[in-house]
Amino acid sequence: MADAAVAMRGDRYVAYMTLLPSAIILLLLVAVPTVTVVVLSLQEVGLGERGGPFVGLANFASVLTSETFYRALFNSFVWVFGSVSLDMLLGLGIALLLNKTFVGRGVARAIALVPYLIPTVVAVLVWRYMFHDIVGVLNFLLMKVGVIDQPLLWLNSRSMAMLSVILVGAWKFFPFVVLGLLGILQSIPQEQYESARIDGASGWQQFSRITLPNLMPVFLLAAMLRTIWTFHKFDIIYLLTGGGPMDATTTLPVLVYHKAFVDFEIGNAAAIAIITGLILSILLSVYFVLIKRAEDKQ
């Protein structure tokens, strides 16, 4: 018995020792920054300062009463909703197409992944050229076809800028959705469709009664991941528009950056970051409920 207890203690020791490195890394990368941000949000801190006077919830109060914050919040929702719904739809459509049998399907599948693989900086630079009012290919083509008769200010007008960043966001990330959905599509047994055909199901009925329910859990999971990533996406927007023109594309992460590194209000920026995190958690809990429900249906 005593030997067993010693052995057990030995096992436990080994277990803790092997867990320790990851625990330390997690602590350093997650816990420390989180606590730091919380501490900063309660202080009045300038750029480059370790800390400052404790101001309680004053930073939160100032954020929650500022018009900029609500505009950024609104922009964030437009950006997330627009970009995610567009790339989910695009991803679903293209996954369905790529699941059909046709000549060159392998090549088409590889090409569909390209946007996901191109580095954001490169992709954004290319898109900025394409969006250019005068030399951009988008305006050139649209005018040639006759859809518009004068150049659109894709990135430089308040009304168009958000649409432009949404387009680029959806374009960049729809391959992720394709990857997830295509995997599921390929795993749906063909017999389910054949049986439905014998029963007289139309193409639409096969899609709505077999394909969609099979896809739903992964579809929602992909939508959740896309929402998280899109919600704190910074690079695409900042590189494309810098949050402008005016603040037309200033989402919460862009606002945090501005507050911290343009206005030097670190405490204020930290407060916005925390609020952003809270909003995201609420969004995620909705998804978790939906995914749980979809999985229960399986």
Partner: protein, 355 residues
């Protein structure tokens, strides 16, 4: 219910002849089993009847309608798949109701029909479950119930028992046949399992390489195989085949018994048999060995019931015999059964062949 006729059906996939000019008539209410090794074309034939594949040539007639060009849904058939093809996101009730929902039936009509089918297969208590929550046997019955609710003319079953374990397969086979007789449905059943085929079929269609080798009742197929393929495909262990100078002679292992077992005065063919190995299977012993002259040495299996206590020494020659009436004769070249056999005594030279 309806009769089914297959007229000169051929199916070619990328130059590969999957089904080669097959014709077959199935009577109203008959249970016909398509039996053959994998790749013999039996599933392709079934899928063409279902309309899931188009034949390259030929016609399919259900009842008195030529359905060759019709969509699966217009053929008035139902199909049960090997993996059952149940919808994982729907309850058992909704799975059974699926064909009726597709037809936009009213709820009370759907309910009536679903309950009728589920009662027939005794799965009413599973209504609220999902397919993954029930056993393989229950899934199979659920798939059957789903195929039943539309009152189809012909049932097509593609290896519906092969995903079940051996014990369950036996009881499901029994239930399936009983059910078929009760409903009186015209059924085409595909399997590679000869026991299943023998147990279920009113008639068996033995197929190989896209062609029909024999059509007959289980007894006809077993006792009078049309050729050496059927003779060796049916029966475990298969029929023993011994080639003589002029023909191939076949006999079933269970008919090949120690000479001392037979009373005198029967018309026997006696062969010296050297047993190399024995498998004791409880109810019977299988002796593996070879004939010893006057015929060319041929590997042979003898299946001796354990109730026969005759001693058969291993590695030694024992006289075995088979009733002359139990012999089958096949053409040496083509392997086709010979109806009127050449007198075996004349071909099997040597006195040891006499009883």
């Amino acid at each position: 219910m309806a009769s089914l006729e297959i007229r000169n059906i051929t199916k070619v996939f990328n130059k590969h002849q999957a089904v080669d000019n097959i014709s077959l008539s199935v009577m109203d209410g008959e249970f016909v089993v398509l039996l053959g090794p994998s790749g013999c074309g039996k599933s392709t034939l079934l899928r063409m009847i279902a309309g899931l594949e188009m034949p390259t040539q030929g016609d399919i007639v259900i009842g008195n309608r030529v359905v060759t060009q019709l969509q699966p849904k217009d053929r008035d058939i139902a199909m049960v798949f090997q993996n059952y093809a149940l919808y994982p996101h729907l309850t058992i009730y909704e799975n059974i109701a699926f064909p009726l929902r597709i037809r936009a039936w009213k709820n009370d009509k759907v309910d009536e029909k679903v309950r009728w089918a589920a009662n027939m297969l005794e799965i009413v208590d599973l209504f609220e479950r999902k397919p993954r929550e029930i056993s393989g046997g229950q899934r199979q019955r659920c798939a059957l119930a789903r195929s039943l609710v539309r009152d189809p003319s012909v049932f097509l079953l593609d290896e519906p028992l092969s995903n079940l374990d051996a014990k369950l397969r036996h009881s499901s086979r029994d239930q399936l046949r009983e059910f078929q007789e009760r409903v009186g449905m015209t059924s085409i059943y595909v399997t590679h399992d000869q026991t299943e085929a023998m147990a279920l079929g009113d008639r068996i269609v033995v197929m190989d390489q896209g062609r029909i080798r024999q059509v007959g009742t289980p007894q006809e197929i077993y006792e009078r195989p049309a050729d050496t393929f059927v003779a060796t495909f049916i029966g475990t262990p298969p029929m023993n085949l011994v080639e003589t100078a002029s023909q191939t002679i076949g006999f079933r292992p269970e008919n090949f018994l120690p000479r001392t077992f037979f009373p005198d005065g029967q018309d026997l063919v006696t062969l010296p048999f050297r047993s190399q190995r024995v498998e004791y299977l409880g109810d019977e012993r299988l002796f593996y060995g070879a004939t010893e002259g006057p015929l060319p040495a041929t590997r042979i299996v003898a299946r001796v019931p354990s109730t026969l206590k005759e001693h058969v020494a291993l590695k030694e020659v024992t006289m075995f015999a088979v009733l002359r009436s139990e012999l089958s004769y096949f053409d040496l070249g083509s392997g086709t059964a010979l109806v009127a056999a050449v007198e075996p005594a004349a071909t099997m030279e040597g006195g040891s062949l006499h009883g």
